[in-house]
């Protein structure tokens, strides 16, 4: 069984403690969100899980066959065109060039890019298009685990829904597991099986929320309803400092 298991994870940068005693487990086909205010150590936690940072204390065990990362900003290579950017991960996995290009073109179309965009450099794309390319690059490798670092935060509502719909489709087919970092509770409720609330200074998990309804059956009413409910939660109010002082 593929899983990502974090046990007793602590992390500090110099003398500043960033994370304290983090424990959770993500199994195959599951979507786990970590929500919390900005600067609460969410990104650090994600980087530790994705092996972009070295674990100092505690353990991160990742037995997923493959993983990919979609960043908050698109992080495309400015000197490569759309297709070459998308095929980067495929080529790194040893895929043949012609096949990589074919797969990249297919997924680019699926993500709403047009054939006339294929040869464009990132500088000629709008912010939303760049994020599509970045998503396509992460998903074209068919990762069994996807790390998402607030990838929707800079997008307009339409594009956000579109990209989320693609993810929801993959989730409902149990094709993918996701570790999702966000500060947007509604986004988290729409996509997750489980939400962990990370409180800052130092980052530690204070509460867990579970949602059992299948993602493709969650309509706007459900998401709004659950959001309203979660916003009444005292821990949430306290963590996000929602109370007027």
């Amino acid at each position: 069984m593929e899983k990502l298991e974090v046990k007793k994870l602590n992390h500090s940068f110099g003398f500043t403690e960033i994370l304290r005693d983090i424990n959770f487990k993500l199994t195959k086909g599951e979507v786990l969100s970590i929500v919390g205010p900005s600067g609460g150590g969410k990104t650090t936690l994600l980087h530790l899980c994705a092996d972009l940072l070295d674990v100092e204390e505690g353990s991160v065990t990742n037995t997923f066959a493959s993983s990919a990362f979609a960043f908050q900003d698109a992080r495309l290579l400015p000197w490569k065109n759309v297709i070459d950017n998308i095929s980067l991960g495929l080529l790194a996995n040893g895929c043949k060039k012609a096949e990589a290009i074919k797969k990249s073109q297919e997924i680019a179309i699926k993500f709403g890019l047009e054939e006339s965009d294929f040869e464009k450099f990132p500088k000629d794309l709008s912010g939303g298009m760049r994020q599509r390319v970045s998503f396509a690059r992460a998903l074209v490798v068919k990762p069994s685990l996807l790390f998402l670092d607030e990838p929707f935060s800079a997008l307009d509502i339409g594009l956000k829904k579109e990209l989320q719909a693609i993810l929801i489709e993959m989730i409902s087919k149990k094709e993918i597991s996701i570790l999702f970092i966000t500060h947007d509770l509604m986004e988290a409720i729409r996509l997750s099986d489980e939400i962990l609330l990370l409180k800052a200074d130092p980052g530690h998990i204070v509460k867990k929320f579970s949602y059992s309804l299948a993602q493709n059956e969650r309509d706007d009413k459900y998401v709004y309803g659950e959001s309203a409910k979660i916003l009444q939660d005292e821990e949430i109010i306290d963590t996000f400092e929602l109370e007027l002082k």
Binding site: A68, L77, P78, W79, L91
Partner: protein
């Protein structure tokens, strides 16, 4: 390979865009001719006379030999600077300590006037190829070194992280992530290094050797042969312009298409 074909395909369009520059060169020649009419042939020979002398010189095997000598010295000097400068610049860029330590040394190298290097080289190596080549190296090395150093130091940390997250193998990391960025710094540095090499080689020859374009220039001066001197200047400027505008600029345009 596609890349070379693309450069060749875009070349005619690029040449066609050069009419403006050609007009400005002609304007410059017209001003030159005006200077000739005011100051006379001895001080400033007319463009026509200069180009006639140039034509005769290019028929002369001896002059071609001198040009080749200078070309040889400049290429060896520039080649060594290019190799040393890019390798050491890369190494210095990848290590913080090395880049900190190399900065003052580069300042010394850049700050030292080339003429001082020529004098020292004449003492160390005597009059000959080595002196000229050495001077060319010390003059153009720091430019290329700084280019490579800057390129390496300014690599984007976010892109590096992205490369790690996709588990790019080392050769892809270098070719697809690091190299294009470093190259965008190194290439302009090479262009100015080449210009520097070409200027310094003539100066060093004038002072330290008895052959090459520089030495021929020295002879023309002693004989007050202004047309020959000017013709040599035209050769130097002409070759530099040829390399820069006909060879390097089209490559640069193609390579840097991705820049905004």
């Amino acid at each position: 390979m596609n890349f070379v074909i693309k450069i060749l395909k875009d070349f005619p369009a690029y040449l066609w865009s050069g009419w403006g520059s050609i007009a400005s060169i002609f304007l410059f020649i017209a001003l030159w001719d005006m200077g000739n009419q005011i100051y006379g042939d001895l001080v400033l020979p007319s463009p026509l006379e200069t180009f006639q002398t140039l034509w005769l010189m290019l028929q002369d095997k001896e002059i071609i030999g001198e040009i080749n000598t200078t070309l040889y010295r400049a290429s060896v000097g520039f080649g060594v600077s290019l190799a040393l400068g890019s390798i050491l610049g890369l190494i210095a860029g990848f290590f913080v300590t090395a880049s900190m330590m190399s900065r003052p040394i580069v300042t010394i190298l850049v700050g030292m006037p080339p003429i001082a290097w020529i004098v020292l080289a004449m003492i160390w190596f005597g009059m000959g190829d080595e002196t000229v080549i050495f001077t060319v190296i010390v003059a153009s090395f720091p430019i290329i070194f700084v280019g490579a150093l800057q390129g390496t130091r300014t690599l984007d940390g976010d892109l590096k992280e992205m490369a790690v997250s996709f588990k790019l193998p080392w050769h892809m990391k270098f070719l697809d992530v690091y190299f294009p960025h470093i190259f965008s710094y190194l290439f302009p540095a090479c262009v100015s290094g080449l210009g520097m090499a070409w200027k310094i080689v003539v100066m060093a020859e004038l002072l330290a050797t008895s052959d090459g374009i520089g030495a021929t220039l020295g002879v023309a001066r002693s004989q007050l042969d202004t047309p020959t001197a000017l013709a040599l200047v035209v050769i130097m400027i002409g070759s530099l312009m040829f390399v820069e505008y006909i060879i390097l600029e089209p490559i640069k345009r193609e390579v840097e298409l991705w820049r905004s």
